[in-house]
């Protein structure tokens, strides 16, 4: 685990310093910019899907989906980050308490 922590620390710093040091022309091409723009969208969306539906190698529907639904509602109401996270956790916890799922 420590190796992963250090690798991500050094790697993310190198990415930042690279951006600040590389002559703009090299990275400033439309394809690179577009992919870099879409990459966070794809990764975050995949992380949500895996986080909510995956249980080991199986796909399951459980209290986590209730939490995600509540998070969507909170975001539509423009709730701040912490409220969204806590509301989702609370909804999942209550669902488990009531239904034992």
């Amino acid at each position: 685990m420590w190796t992963a922590v250090i690798v991500s620390g050094i790697g993310c710093y190198l990415l930042k310093i690279a951006g600040m040091s590389v002559p703009p022309k090299i990275l400033q091409n439309p394809l690179v910019e577009r992919v870099a723009d879409l990459l966070p969208v794809a990764l975050l969306s995949a992380l949500i899907a895996v986080q909510v539906f995956a249980s080991g190698h199986e796909l399951v529907v459980d209290a986590r989906l209730v939490g995600l639904g509540v998070a969507v509602g909170a975001l539509l109401l423009r709730a701040p980050f912490l409220v969204v996270v806590i509301a989702a956790a609370g909804a999942a916890a209550l669902t488990r308490l009531w239904f034992g799922g």
Partner: protein, 223 residues
């Protein structure tokens, strides 16, 4: 940002952004510890990696049972956007030598947003530093508090903390879903990730979804 506030306003905005970000830090610390990281590892991530989405990604992959290194790979892919921020910031901030090396660590969503809209180098530097430094201090403080608090919590599932991770990612993704392309990419990426979950090691599905971004980028440009 339609109007440009005076210098005092820039600093105040920067500090406000830092305080708002502290809230993410609390949840990051708590989620990191309940996902299996130690308090020291959670704090080291916030100090060294210092880019929220990447940190959540590493922790999320580990929480799902993935290898820590595939978590780190996901974190690096998410960190690539900071390189693009740096491209835009370098000529604007116009720092060289050790100042640039130090400033690079503060290149994140918030500090970029608070500086790229400024008209002059001086204003950009004030915006960058006030947001970057206040986020750095409060993010790390909040991570420590959240991690220590997270240690004393019971079973993460009883508290719904496994659902909290998905909600945190959704809150990070939400502002990026404003265009049709992004919405389509998000749906396809989720579908690809879930499609390969049964056949691959944890952590791989998320990386596989990165290919959707690559493909979409290539297809869009060929039109």
């Amino acid at each position: 940002m339609s109007s440009r506030p005076p210098d005092g306003g820039i600093v105040r905005d920067g500090v406000a952004v830092g305080i708002a970000t502290g809230a993410y830090g609390l949840s990051f610390g708590a989620i990191a510890v309940t996902s299996g990281l130690s308090v020291a590892q959670a704090c080291a991530l916030s100090l060294l990696t210092f880019t929220g989405a990447s940190q959540f990604a590493l922790v999320g992959v580990v929480a799902a049972g993935g290898a820590p290194m595939s978590g780190a790979a996901t974190a690096l892919l998410l960190g690539t956007r900071n390189a693009l921020y740096g491209l835009r910031l370098a000529p604007l901030l116009a720092w060289t030598g050790w100042r640039r090396l130090g400033a690079a660590h503060l290149v994140i969503d918030e500090s970029t947003a608070m500086s790229v809209t400024r008209g002059t180098t001086e204003e950009a530097r004030v915006g960058f530093l006030s947001a970057g430094l206040s986020v750095f201090v409060l993010w790390n403080l909040a991570t420590l508090i959240g991690a220590v608090a997270g240690e004393s919590l019971g079973d993460p599932a009883d508290l719904g903390l496994d659902a909290a991770v998905g909600a945190a990612f959704l809150a990070l993704l939400w502002p990026r879903l404003h265009t049709r392309t992004n919405q389509v990419v998000a749906v396809l990426a989720a579908a690809v990730a879930l499609g390969v979950v049964p056949f691959t090691a944890a952590g791989v599905p998320v990386l596989a979804a990165g290919a959707v971004a690559l493909l979409a980028g290539v297809l869009r440009s060929s039109r």
